[in-house]
Amino acid sequence: MATKNVHVKIDEMKTSTGLIKNLEVSIGKIVDDSWAEPMGPTPMPSMSTLRDWDMKLLNKYKPFYMPDCDLCCLCTFGKCDLTAGKRGACGLDIGAQSSRIVLLACCIGAATHTAHSRHMIHHLVEKYGRRFPLDIGGLNIKVEAPITRLVTGIRPQNLGDLEDVLDYAEREITQCLAVAHTGQEGNNLDFESKSFHVGMIDHVGMEVGDIAQVSTLGMPKAEPEAPLVSLGIGSVDTTKPVIMCIGHNVIPSVGIIDYAKDNKLDDKIEIVGLCCTAHDITRYYNRGRIIGPISWQLRFIRGGFADVVVLDEQCVRTDAFDEARKVHAPVIAASEKNCMGFKNRTDDDTDTIVADLVSGKVAGVLILDPEKVGEVAVRVAQQVAPIRKKLKNLPSLEELVKDAKTCRQCDMCRRSCPQDLKLPQAIKAAAGGDISQLTELYEYCIGCGRCEQACPQNLMIHSMIVKAGEKFMLEETNFCRVGRGAVQDVEIRNVGSPIVLGEIPGIVAVVGCSNYPHGGKDVYDICREFALRRYIVALSGCSAMSAGSYKNSEGKTLYEEFPGEFTAGGVLNVGSCVANSHIAGAAIKVANIFAKRSLRGNYEEIADYIHNRLGAVGLAWGAYSQKAAAIAAGFWRLGIPVLVGPHGSKYRRMLLGREDKPENWNVIDARTGNTVNVGPAPEHLFQTVETPQEAMVAIAKLCIRPNDTWKGRSIKLSHYVDLHKRHYGCMPNDLHLFVRTMADVPMTLKDEFTKILEANKWKETVIPDPTLLPRMVRKMKE
């Protein structure tokens, strides 16, 4: 690392000049010069340091705002009507207000990841000490923290170093949040720049958290062949007591697993997870099970599988307690961020807490000591399981039909459904004894429960769907690959050249939550399509679970069909939310390890490299959260485009290029200093796509980069054209913008291309050494 705290304490020392007693000397920081890489221009940037870089991107990719609300109600001057050019009492217009909301979302997301990491590192430092060395891949990884190195200029070597990194991250998040106060920033692009900044900080926060847990908890260390883990409730032995952990912070789950193992109960109890905690449970514990993504919480609590529900933090249904109480499953809240209104029993005697939960004297407790969570959860599960007998909150089929007959067909369920599911028709059919339509909805329901809130008859519509799909649910036995963590340096070396030259057509990062428009199979289909085309497919979070939830014609899941390496045709699961940092980290490592660009505090140059050379694109098909917004913002600042599914339009702001404006697509040729028009590559920085078909075409197109060699460009264009023809039924209408020389044209498509090029009066151009930074131009030899 770059700096160290020094504390010297001398109880007694005799010297030639006398006796020294009880001397304590503290030095705040000393510089550690063991890192040979020179410090770059922007270590620990403040929110305006990289503003010029942001503006270069925002000039290419201008915001398109879709205000979800025309009002501002954040201060007491308001509500203010900002419709169509009106300004509020503070002077803000709707464009700036929209970007302010984006900034707020990104701040919330970055704060959430960073607070998660802070909690985890605080706990791990207490347990293992500040000097515990970081190891995320043994000899296979020398660049242990690419984002941290790049942003802060710190090379963290032990757990304590990560605390210093978090100090910086927390400072910047606070600064960015302050910008959203009334009467601060007034320009929409400056708000956007600050969103980029806090997104970059979010990636730091995520990376710090994941390398801390990988180093200390024995999680897979950059293992391409991390083991496969069972996925789905069908893989759980529900005859045993079941502890269901929901959330993202694995520390309480570690307490549960450790207690079970220490007491030789690990084969007598099932410890399962929902959402990202599930990934991290299986990274820590080979008997852990992934039940499914975030949207399935209601489904599995009502299904009665859990004998104890443990809630940590993030994306936890806030009514999880109410739902668990209905199936008599005690709840343990284990995070300060999510106390659920429970009494804090952290300092109480364990026997008493267990007795209270088992007897039903209390239905839920707050315990902030993870070891105590572990003991209480296991003991309560053992004692409650025989009493509960997997009590469900689902109707019988007879009750379902009877309830369906009371439906008034008022349509309010459908009008409340984010998916516009045809619920009234399905309920009407059920009333006649045919539940097949409800069964079909099981696949597409995202489990929000809004239908039940809207129903004037108080029908438990979600429970009806789950009951109708129960057989399918119980048969869910798939596989996910355990989160592997980072990408090895050697993997980067192997693929660096073909990626940058375009011969591996792209890296597709399929990440984020499960607010899918039409079920999880779209995620599987998209991943498989690009893996078969020998793109690198990287997954994380709920998307990684959905991708593993379907099988090919041979009965193999995606993780069984494709290798877990970071290589052409590889499908790798990096892990939980915080492990998303390894995807950005891999892009950064390509610039460092393959291209030998210095990382240390050198953000702008690396982002410029990635933006112009690395054909990477993110797809958050079901993104719903503020964390997803912050993750996307971190990718935007690196110049990596992100696509979202239709629900992602609710982020209310896109960053769109205009391929019809050639002046937006100039780069500087670093070899000559000349300006070269490279076409819309990549065309967008943030865009919503409506359908999986459109997503596939857009992904192929967004992998095109100015630096592609003719061979690489030809490969990328052939994928773009092929997918376009298949899904759009015709040739793309913008091919002339992507052909620089005739060598770029795929051989088999030469005739079709030639016609298009002639029709558009295409002219040959050069393939530059592209950069957006004038300082990167090399001096011409005399």
Partner: protein
Amino acid sequence: MSCEPWQCAEISATKKANPIQKPEVAVAMIKRAQRPILVVGSNATERWMEGRQLIEYLIDFAKASKVPVVATAHMVGEFLKRGYEPAGFMNAMDVSNRLVDPEWMGLDGKGHPDLVLIVGLPYYMEGLILAGLMNFAPDLKTMTLDNMYHPHASWSFPNASLEEWASNLKVMTSKFEGGQ
């Protein structure tokens, strides 16, 4: 027919679309427009009325009215399969982004559209796009042809049954010279 937003929480703020109570009113406004376009989203093949898909009604309407069609998502292929070539195809965000640019000269390069008819996108996405157009293209008029009330449009049909929707589209088609 109700003029409440179809999805319960998609409420507008201070402006609310004028309801189109009769299809003839919509036709009159379309005929008055100099440069209308019709943006068709991915639900065009998902929604059925009287045994026909929405896209088939829209092809009839587009042929009769000669309003140029912009197909979003993968809909261009669906139009081509049915023997109709749309004037353009583009991502829904891309066409919207062009519509808020007063310098954009339309698909044919001859002038900025003055009326956008929009239909068949996911309800929430269409609502957001209409909100963007309302705020950032204040001179542009917007009209939805869905059977779901969209408060952010300039004009919207009220919530209506599938039968009413089919009838509205057929009446609109019949009122143009090329209509049946």
